[in-house]
Subunit: 185 residues, 2 copies
């Protein structure tokens, strides 16, 4: 089962996804592609269009991921535009925007696409935005503290066992492995 | 010449555009449509795809507008996502993000589309971000001070004679009227 591609322009996402999927005995290969993205407030809608675009280009079973940080007091900002916001105003920008209510959630949407089906798997993780950047990691890792912890994703060694990405990939794996087994019979 | 549609989900844009185009003796009608938008750092690319999408839906000559506020010290943020950023963090969010360098520019891209051609017209206006919201208006009007003035777009009575939208629509009008005249001969 090594014919599954992970299509993304972000190598960090791939590395995390590979580690997580390997623990479920699924292997993935990286295909670096800039995919066309529509603007929408629905991450699921963005993900499906992106996966279909990717499949039309590479014609192999694949998964893509769209994820976003949604901050309650900022009406869900940066949401579907997390990547652009990270590149422009960055973590410091987010910290400058937040006042009292620091609650937020990360949502990951893993979308599988092959010539027959296109299927989404969502993982959510609630938490809060820290007062300052802490730890390493990439993206918003240094400012997101998952609920029931006191450390940011950037400090948390077990990030890949609790993250929104882990939750979405676990759902995908359950479906994918059962599906494969049915196909093998 | 009243068969030209202005396709948008934003009535304020239409009202401004209508006033400006009327001064060039071009009439437009409003067609409220939510159009599919790709995510891209290129406003021109977004505009062309949007105009083609609109034309495929209404089959009539039309213009659409994409505009964005680009803040130098924030790497061009909010740029192509100005509308989403306005709806979420709003003007106060922008004011919280800016520190020393307050320079910015507004860019408008008017795109015309009919069954034969698709053509873009760009208008740019430099300025600065004010220290606080001033005046009325919509969108970023209360925080954008055009160069060579001391008032925000929200305070400026002559906004429609100097704006990025005016500049783009003037270019469009020159082309459109000459083209019409050629067609009429």
């Amino acid at each position: 089962m090594s014919d599954l591609l992970f299509v993304s322009s972000n190598i960090y996402k791939f590395k995390e996804a590979k580690k997580i999927l390997n623990s479920f005995e699924i292997n993935i290969e990286f295909l670096k592609l800039d995919l066309e993205e529509i603007q929408s407030n629905s991450i699921k809608e963005i993900a499906i269009k992106k996966a279909q675009d990717a499949f039309s280009k590479c014609k192999k079973p694949l998964i893509i991921e769209d994820d976003g940080l949604h901050i309650d007091s900022l009406d869900g900002f940066p949401g579907p535009y997390s990547s652009y916001v990270q590149k422009t105003i960055g973590n410091q920008g987010i910290l400058n925007l937040i006042k009292k209510d620091r609650s937020a959630k990360f949502i990951s949407n893993i979308t599988y696409c092959d010539k027959i089906s296109c299927k989404c798997f969502e993982g959510k993780l609630s938490g809060t935005i820290s007062n300052s950047e802490k730890g390493k990691g990439w993206g918003f890792d240094p400012i997101f503290i998952p609920k029931n912890t006191k450390q940011t994703f950037g400090e948390l060694i077990e990030k890949n066992n609790v993250s929104h990405r882990y939750k979405a990939l676990k759902k995908f794996s359950n479906w994918y492995l059962n599906r494969q087994e049915s196909n093998d019979q």
